[in-house]
């Protein structure tokens, strides 16, 4: 009999948590948000993390393909990043003035990201998208923003959907929605709202949740760039999720186009708390006029961590490495699924692959697969793209594929009627 993980201590702690925290575990890590289905298979809390692994409260070890939803890009507790952070912390972190590291890091981003003539630092991905939009509005004197249906740019009211709790109709009033990969729809919106569109914002490819991820169609981005130029619209790339997992020069560079502004966060500092907007010279003056700041925005430790993280990513050729690791993992997963008559559809860039079991139209088999993996020490979630990190080893991959083979087998046994003949 196989020895499957149990999560007694996670569940005990959760019973304390629900008394003092709304939903017990708030936000995107919360089981109530239902990525952990069936919840009984997943731990709720992490005790520690190192390299490509984390451990839950009950001492179970997981090979991690969520990477804290992106921030873990080099491996947890990467020594180069942590040494830089400790060195800066010994000097000072949140001080009455910025540290010299702020200038070093801005120079590094300007020298790294293709379109960057300047950099601006913030704390959340959502800070970055909101600042970028405000900059576009300040630059153009216009109000409207074209967004992609199903796209995610944080949790500020303007980024949420109609009817979301606490979100008003007025919060969404200036949003114009276009389907992904539909340049004609974008053109129609720009024509219909001539001289009123401040910005077009999108992720570099469509890495939405609950659906196969879609790369840009050939010529899509080049056409969007033309339309933005023609209509004087600021092109904003939300590279919060994909940044530094496709190319060090920016995901826009990977797809062969140049945005006006680009937003970074997750992979920037290997989990230290910082985000950034970079922009072209033409937007510098507008960015200077927008007042946007916060208590910890000049903190030096996350900047030191970011500088070290970018250096390590360069040294390792991080994006290429993670793409290649993702290719190995996904090829192996497909083969293992195939053996059980399961049709595993992989989409997106391999360093951020999305997977779906196509044998049924629901997520039932996919959820069961993720649960069976979690019970055996491999951490996938069922409806979100995954994240690779540079510290994943060949041994991790071998163990992952062995575990996946068992998990696919368990899924096949539970859903025999859905299998391919």
């Amino acid at each position: 009999m196989e020895n499957l993980y149990t999560n007694i201590k996670s569940r005990d702690l959760f019973l304390r948590a629900v008394k003092v925290l709304p939903t017990g575990i708030p936000g995107h890590l919360g089981p109530v948000q239902s990525q952990f289905i069936p919840t009984s298979a997943f731990p709720f809390y992490a005790e520690r993390a190192e390299g490509s692994h984390f451990w839950d409260l009950d001492g179970n070890r997981y090979i991690d393909y969520m990477c804290a939803y992106g921030p873990n890009v080099l491996g947890y507790n990467n020594e180069a990043v942590e040494a830089a952070a400790r060195e800066q912390a010994a000097k000072g972190n949140c001080m009455p003035l910025p540290g010299r590291i702020q200038v070093d890091l801005a120079e590094k981003l300007v020298n790294t990201i293709e379109i960057a003539d300047w950099a601006f630092f913030l704390k959340n991905g959502g800070d970055a998208t909101t600042f970028a939009l405000m900059t576009a509005r300040a630059a153009t004197g216009r109000t409207k923003v074209i967004r992609i249906e199903g796209g995610y740019h944080g949790v500020a009211p303007w980024t949420q959907g109609p009817g979301a709790a606490g979100v008003l109709e007025t919060d969404l009033k200036e949003n114009l929605m276009a389907p992904w990969n539909d340049a004609e729809a974008v053109e129609s919106l720009m024509d219909a709202h001539r001289n009123r569109v401040a910005a077009f914002i999108a992720t570099p490819y469509d890495h939405r949740i609950f659906a196969d991820n879609q790369l840009p169609a050939p010529g899509y981005w080049q056409r969007i760039r033309e339309l933005c130029d023609k209509h004087g619209v600021v092109l904003i790339i939300d590279d919060v999720r994909a940044g530094f997992r496709l190319s060090m020069k920016g995901s826009a560079h990977y797809f062969g186009f140049k945005p006006d502004l680009a937003c970074y966060c997750k992979a920037l500092a290997n989990g230290h708390n910082i985000s950034a907007v970079v922009g072209r010279e033409s937007l510098r003056s507008a960015a200077s006029r927008v007042f946007f700041t916060g208590s910890y925005w000049s903190s030096a430790v996350p900047m030191a961590a970011a500088l070290a993280c970018l250096g390590e990513l360069e040294r390792l050729k991080g994006p290429e490495l993670m793409i290649s690791l993702g290719e190995k993992v996904t090829a192996g997963l497909k083969t293992a699924a195939e053996k059980e008559g399961i049709d595993l559809v992989i989409s997106g860039v391999p360093s951020m692959f999305y997977m779906r079991i196509a044998n049924d139209d629901s997520l039932m088999m996919q959820q069961e697969f993720c649960a069976q993996c979690a019970l055996r020490g491999v951490f996938f979630v069922s409806h979100h793209n995954h994240f690779l990190n540079c510290s994943l080893t060949d041994d991790d991959i071998a163990q992952t594929l062995e575990t996946a083979a068992r998990a696919f087998k368990a899924v096949a046994e539970k859903y025999p009627e859905n299998l391919k003949k």
Copy 2:
């Protein structure tokens, strides 16, 4: 001849900074935002900080009365906080699941702050005020918010003023403005917008910039509480700036009233990156429905730092200590000013005192005083409340008053026509 500070290295670095960062130093620490007037007297960058002091790039040491605009509450690099942060960092920080510390910290806040039945963690003060407003809207199904004229609640568009760069009229459409300490004006707004006001938001007292700070008039808060109850309006206290410098139980407790939601940030973790909203039971369900999260929001290190910080503040009776230190400093400053015929007006709670030289109607003498202090190693700014921290020593205070005496003398020599006879 006195040996005054110079800031050559700060200025050299700033010349590099303006090439890669909008405004060179962005945000509230930026010299362009003009708190450093005359700029030639102030450093632009901090090299390190320890206890009640920081050092600039040129090696000059300053006794610090800005405390990083609030986060430094125990003294820079407080050993108890840093030890807790290091211990947690060795285990893990930003992981795919929260750490157990999230529950410990929520329990601590619920046990510490008078009105707290639950806690929710975020990253910026502005995250907290926006989440609180969204929660109030979700709870009431209403749209409008009553704010205080001149109040500051962060940089989200709804918190900024009309005409600010990147801010739209629609962003401000649901704001209703009332003067500070004017309960009748609030009553009129609630009557005029019956069943449409979701929230009243204000800081516990009026600690605005560029003006004497004003405590609540007797009975003001009790009247606001009655009006909110009568009209079903959620009472939000923005305790981001004053939190834990007036009372551990909340600044509302200090002034004898109970809000429904309270926002914390700066002093929560001695400079580590975290903010919090706490609320009463009646708002738990609404808070649960609002989707609000970010990449680093469950990071464990800032939570460990916050738990240690709250413990140290309790042990030291931090708020009472800082109020008493503030009383010593301000009494000494007034006496030193008086000797030179300068009328120094001190306002606000002593742990967050605001000061103004009343001999002229401009800020010219005040700016000159701050500059003369900076040139001699005491860091004040001219139009913002100051912040005390627990590590300020009697020796620091003696040096501060000695320096201030020289600075007042220099001001008196420069503006002889303005002196009191």
